[in-house]
Symmetry: none
Subunit: 209 residues, 2 copies
DNA sequence: TAAAGACCTACCCATTTGGCCGATACCGGG
DNA sequence: CCCGGTATCGGCCAAATGGGTAGGTCTTTA
């Protein structure tokens, strides 16, 4: 049984969510209020999940909810690309869905959230990943050479500051081989030291920091 | 009804997952094979979800799965902090859970994945957020030490892949001094190689890529 | 089947790195 | 005035690094 508290400024939305959740026998709606009231009631009602419908992420309700350290939080919002929602994940919010999510998605998100998991809509994920996955940049700079999976694996360990010997033992290969791979990496990346290789690799999105 | 294909190298794990999923009436196991075989069967069986148990993210199976563009993919792995798993999200993987996830979590993740949502374990989320959320850094490692302007200058050149001698001539100082600065940087950043110092420096926002 | 590429191993050797000892000099605060 | 932090030099030395060349499997591709 998962107890759910609904917070939505629109009464229509509340009614919609209520009827939606009512179709799932393991859900129990412990309350349904405008956002402010829902937040106020959270302490007392202690629901497993708080389902919030936010008109816009700029809404102060978002920050309010974030600051109150309410943890199992499912948020419906329009602007899934706003960095605000991404930040929200850093402080309690367990799920972010667009307001036009299907009922199956909302139900699944609440269930997953209740178990402690974090749920995202693919769009939200993309906006999170875009800064760190520069994505398919194929500038024919000096090379355009693609590293083999093995080389990427090695480069990743180089970035960790590991020595050739250490890398060798982790991969179960000889350190001679590691040196060979690193030489190939240098050639393909146009680098001449492992440190330079790392920065180039990061710039090209091959590895992350 | 959600059809699930299981891929795990260990027969014990397969049996465990099978019995776990069997308890959910809306799940239907369409197959259970070692990882390679599971990937091969994916086309034919066309499951709604592919559940993979990966021993380690370095496993070539991961890259294999990523390249095959199989989309509804739930991955169980040990090393949830590895950037590899984060990258995996960029190409198909819909869920990443630690291998010691509870049965509730696994079930919830499969259900959410089937509806198209992306599911993460909180740990995985943290490793994704850390690069773009500079805040919340409160690891009193050996670090928290602030680099002097000169040291930052040196670190920046180290990141470019320059050698001590080269840095020395650019700064108009002796290479001994450069080595001294780098030693201080190592101590303050808790690094033990110039490459590691660079990645730590990038992580802490001291330098940029 | 042949060719190509990825992957692994091995050797030699010059250069670089990083740790360790020490020293001088400047500057600001107690 | 002395002390601590910063910046600058010096030498010594073990270890790691990077370049070159040369071989060997294995899988995929043509």
């Amino acid at each position: 049984m998962t107890s759910v508290l609904i917070g939505a400024s629109s009464e229509v939305v509340r009614a919609g969510l209520e009827s939606l959740l009512a179709t799932v026998p393991t859900f129990k709606i412990v309350g349904s209020f405008p956002i402010g009231a829902a937040l106020a009631q959270f302490e007392e009602l202690q629901p497993d999940v708080l389902l919030l419908d936010l008109e816009s992420p700029e809404d102060e309700s978002m920050s309010l909810a974030m600051e109150s350290e309410i943890s199992p939080l499912v948020v419906l919002t329009d602007n899934t690309e706003n960095s605000l929602v991404v930040e929200a994940l850093g402080s309690g919010t367990r799920a972010i869905l667009p307001r036009d999510a299907t009922s199956e998605e909302i139900v699944a998100a609440i269930q997953a959230t209740a178990t402690g998991l974090v749920v995202l809509h693919p769009h939200v994920l993309r906006s999170m990943l875009s800064p760190i996955l520069p994505g398919e940049e194929s500038e024919p700079d000096p090379s355009d050479q693609t590293l083999t999976p093995r080389e990427i694996e090695v480069l990743r360990m180089v970035a960790e500051g590991l020595g050739n010997k250490e890398i060798a033992s982790r991969l179960g290969i000889s350190d001679h081989t590691v040196k060979f791979h690193i030489s190939s990496i240098f050639a393909k990346l146009g680098a001449s030291s492992r440190t330079e290789a790392v920065t180039v690799g990061i710039r090209q999105g091959l590895i992350m920091v």
